[in-house]
Amino acid sequence: MISRRQIFAGAAVLGAASLVPGLGQAQPAPRRGGVLRISVDQAAGVLNPLLTRVNPEYLVAELLYSGLTRLRADMTAEPDLAESWTSTPDLAEWTFKLRAGLVFHDGTPCTSRDVAASFTAMLDPKTASAARTNIGPIAEVSAPDAQTVVFKLKGGYADLPVALAYTNAKIIPEKIAAGDMSVLSRSAIGTGPFKLVSFEPERQIVVARNEHYWDPARPHVDRVEVLVYPDPAAEASALIAGDTDLMASAQPSEFPRLASASGVKALRVPSGQFLNINMACDLKPFDDVRVRRALALTVDREAMVGFAAQGFGTPGNDTPLSPAYHFYQQAPLLKRNIPDAKRFLAEAGYPNGLDLTLVASDTPSTRTQLGVAVREMAKEAGFRIQVQTMPHATYLAQVWTKGNFYVGFYNMQASADAIFSLLYTSNAAWPETRWKNPDFDKLIGEARVTADEARRRDIYGQAQALMREGVPSVIPVFFDLLAAQRPYVQGYQLNPRGAVFSLDKLWLGEGAPKRR
Amino acid sequence: MTPLLEIRDYTLDFQTRAGPFRALDGVSLAVAPGEVLGLVGESGSGKTTLAMAVMRHLAGNARERGGSIRFDGRELIGIAPAEVRALRGRRIGMVFQNPATSLNPTLTLGRQITEVLERHRGLSPRAAATEAVDWLGRVELRNPAALMRRDPHQLSGGEKQRVVIAATFAVHPDLILFDEPTTALDVITGARILELFRRLRAETGVTGLYISHDLAVVSRIADRVAVLRHGRLLEQAPAATLFHAPQNDYTRRLIASVPKPEHRLVQDTPGAEKILEADHLGVAYWRPRLFGRQIFVGVHDVTLDVRAGEILGVVGESGSGKSTIARALTGLAHATGEIRLDGALVGRMGRAYRRAVQIIFQHPDSSLNPRQRIGEILARPLRLYGGSPREIPDLLAQVHLPAEYAHRWPHQLSGGEKQRVAIARAFAARPRLVICDEITAALDVSVQAAVIELLLDLRRQHGTAYLFITHDLNLVRQIAHRLAVMQHGELVDLLGIDDLGSGRENAYTRALMEASPAPVG
């Protein structure tokens, strides 16, 4: 039994730590002013924060909007619009207190009514927001007074503060949330650290300091220009040439060049981003666990880090939790073992091998790299795999969550529960493998209502063991997140989650170019 | 008197892949001041090459092997390019064969005259314009001032040639080279241009070298005539002498092959039986338009007939509708009116009609399919009209071609030979009437004579009737029994050949006769 006070205290302490950047290290005080140019590798087409889907859009939404909480680099929640929160002991009802004096960009105050309306909109299937399935089992949101928001859940959920930091869980004015949301596709009315100046989705998005941001100390820079570079080589060149200050993400192929370029600081952080080979556990031949294990045994995971991630990653052990997750359980790495693989395959009734078609979407291209490498590695054990690449749009429409053998790609999630219930529980939001394991479901459900850290670690450890056993998907490699910046950019921390940027916390130090 | 232009032992080769080709071989001739020398030769004789040698405008593969070309006492071979430019246009002018291509299509007529006046006579633009307008008047063009601003495409061929002549004479050159200046023009237009030249010559006293394949034309214009063949000068004499008493064999044959209207080649009279009748024939060429239809009339209300074994000549200027009649009678153009074969109305042209009425076209180069051998070309009509490919050697023999020609491709044959194959193809059907659509227009005089002889020969053997379409009145007067005269798509005259010059003919027919170059001899 854990008291609400304890949880509240924990959150508050961590929140305070992050408010003072570089606490414990001797870092120069943030400088105010300047223009930051950050490059992204894809257009940020969607401006409505409830509907954003890709990292550049998350980045822009984060500049313009705030949520109740924010995700730190260690995957804990820090206060954002909410300054504190408490829960009932069964973790089924949570109360969030808002900061005082919040205002939207248009000058109207931001109250709990706006928050409640925003969440109601997110949960409405008609809005089609990804937040609906990612912010926890919320049953009802209410606003008893102007500063208080109460979440009633369908069951206990320990990770709610982290879940509410979800990329799409941004607060918008009530009149928009309850009315016509299309206005948000052209303009931005949020409570974020910046206001929208110009929006050209394929070229650049410019934002300028929000003078009425709740934290008077931030943002440090006056203006952020988000520049779109569809070509990764060109994006790297632009940073090397000094046209940009920061690259939100870098391709492994460009990373060595960036690392060796003068005037560029390469950034790298281990992450839980992974590629996997999804197998339909309800269809032949993958309904037989021996076939799945046979495939898992053919993969040389150390080599795969080289092939798929150019060495910038860590080997995976067929669970979606990497060492970057809080509840990661260490286990010996599965070794490539062709005789065993052959034996499993023969036992499953395929002594002469198996013909399979592995579908890989064309974005990101590492999906294909992984597919081709798996094909070659599995050849020896008798898997005759044909790799079929298709445009992402076609893949989404025809293969994703429907196909029986395809390559998946996921960003790191904020919590173990988020990734497990996204992909692997029986009622997963995205039932890719249709792996129905009641024991596993029970464990995940139990962890949700458990507040005790050690107990949760134990439960999640058992769940990971079940996955290594059952192999609903082969997860051979986790990617490191790569980025690069000019050395004068200070206070930027690469977040392993991949979709969190916190650009309001960085500043431009000595040597930054003067830009108007 | 010293000659203005004197060419001695001039020899010139063209480098070709097969080795040097001798284009001019020891040519010597002289043109005295004020004289016009006619230079006659068939295609490939080297007459244009000689003119270009005088103009110092030779192709890159030309090699001068010896001799001299002296103009006004100065040797031209080997002079500097700058001196060449000072001669060209200024002292030696030139009138070209085809006025349609020798005028720059994108410059106004005025500019094309003033540019030479400014360059060669050093006139100011204003003075040059005045002078140009004056000259346009002198070549009998109407409204010269307005013409200055017009573009070449707005003028007829004859008018364009007058502009070229004006531009050439306006510079007052000492010598003018005429390279077949009337060949591309109609009979009547050509005759008027010759008239103009005679007048200008009298006014200016210019010296001329007049090049032509047409002996009749040269006989009208030149003081002396030189005959060129295969690059060699065969004979040179005063015009009258040459035509009356040619020394050289080839000259004699050449003169003999010139059509002389009085010299009838056909003596018989055809039967009264009408093979083919055309009643109120009309062909309207129209092009579809987005809004309504714009109609271009081809021929209008033509009624004529051809009798068994008869040669019916059809004459007229280009565009008068002669060929349209041929196309209508062979089903190539959709016609209104009625056609009768042996008195029976022809509805759809069936096999019998096709077989009875055959056609031979003008251009030997395009009338044989380049991707078929001669044998295939002849075998097709044979099979179609109940013959057998075994008859091919006979057919070839009939047109005086060796049997092994069956294995050749069209491009391996000369123009005259191709036309013989086309004749053989027509006769493969054993037709009763052959329509000859300007079949000798593209041929040299001597080849033309041989083709005519062949046609008459075949007629003697098979009793075939001909509908002989031509613009050459002299030729048709030699062979036709009756004459149909076309003007602006209408039949203006249809008369027996004996009625020509009897006063019963149409005024237009008379004009046509007068314009036809007076025959030689």
């Binding site: 092939f307 064309d362 974005t363 445009p391 | 089903g331 009338s367 399919n369 491009h411």
Partner: protein, 276 residues
């Protein structure tokens, strides 16, 4: 045929084009046997191996031998380009000839529609078709064929109209030949020559259009050793391993130049004016 080859070799472009294409054809036929390695054999330690004795033209990001991939890939790249062009030509030639034969309003309607389709840039049309048919070899072949067909129709029609005006065609009509005979025996052999020239030159475009489609992710799909795809994949490692772009890039250029030269050579060799 020998005669044509002789004339072709006599032209400078033709001779050079034939030499280049014989080389390419040799790769297409014997490529897989000549390849020192399996084109898809991955090698962890050999990744990004520079050209040298072990890998003559280097190795790629998966340690696959570039020379082997090049030799094996010739079989995908060149026949696909040829096939697409021939397909496009065939479709275009049928439409063009039909239009010229039907004439009048039909001709007007067909040609204006073809003109309208040509207002869409070829690459865009190919992109749309490739997206519709799904990425991959066959889709790309059809996409290129569809992109080429309107242009070929236009060319065929103009050639056919020119041939239609020839007197030997008039002679055949006047002789009472059937439409089929005239189109097939009199017209077609004469239409074919200029169309062949145009087709040859278009193969060069097809090779490049394929490469471009692959570059945009819609052509051949990994792990196929298609040349355009190799360039597109290698482009990401340009700074690490430039040979991954250079080698297949040069192969594409050589093939394209070969077909361009052959086309120009054929134009001269098939020109009836020079037939002596």
């Amino acid at each position: 045929m020998n005669d044509l080859l002789r004339r072709l070799l006599a032209t400078r472009q033709g001779a050079l084009g034939v030499v280049l294409l014989v080389l390419v054809a040799f790769c297409c036929i014997a490529g897989p046997w000549l390849a020192p390695y399996d084109a898809e054999q991955i090698d962890f330690l050999g990744r990004f191996a520079a050209p040298g004795t072990r890998h003559l033209l280097g190795a790629d990001q998966l340690g696959r031998d570039v020379l082997s991939r090049l030799l094996t890939g010739a079989r995908t790249t060149v026949p696909a380009a040829l096939g697409a062009t021939l397909l496009g030509t065939l479709a275009g030639a049928v439409a063009g000839t039909l239009s010229a034969y039907l004439g009048g309003h039909w001709d007007e309607a067909i040609m204006r529609t073809i003109d309208a389709v040509m207002a869409l840039p070829g690459l865009l049309l190919a992109l749309l078709v490739a997206n519709t048919l799904g990425a991959g070899g066959l889709g790309a072949v059809l996409a290129v064929a569809v992109a080429f067909a309107p242009g070929m129709a236009r060319i065929t029609r103009s050639v056919a109209l020119a041939v239609r005006r020839q007197e030997y065609v008039s002679a055949a009509i006047a002789r009472g030949e059937s439409g089929t005979y005239i189109v097939l025996r009199e017209m077609l052999p004469n239409v074919v020559a200029p169309v062949i020239v145009e087709t040859t030159i278009r193969v060069a475009f097809a090779v490049m259009l394929f490469a471009t489609l692959s570059f945009l992710g819609l052509g051949a799909q990994p792990p196929a050793p298609e040349w355009g795809l190799m360039v597109s994949e290698g482009r990401r490692y340009l700074h690490q391993a430039p040979w991954l772009v250079v080698v297949p890039g040069v192969a594409i250029a050589i093939t394209a130049i070969g077909f361009n030269l052959l086309g120009d050579g054929l134009r001269d060799a098939l020109n009836p004016r020079d037939e002596r």
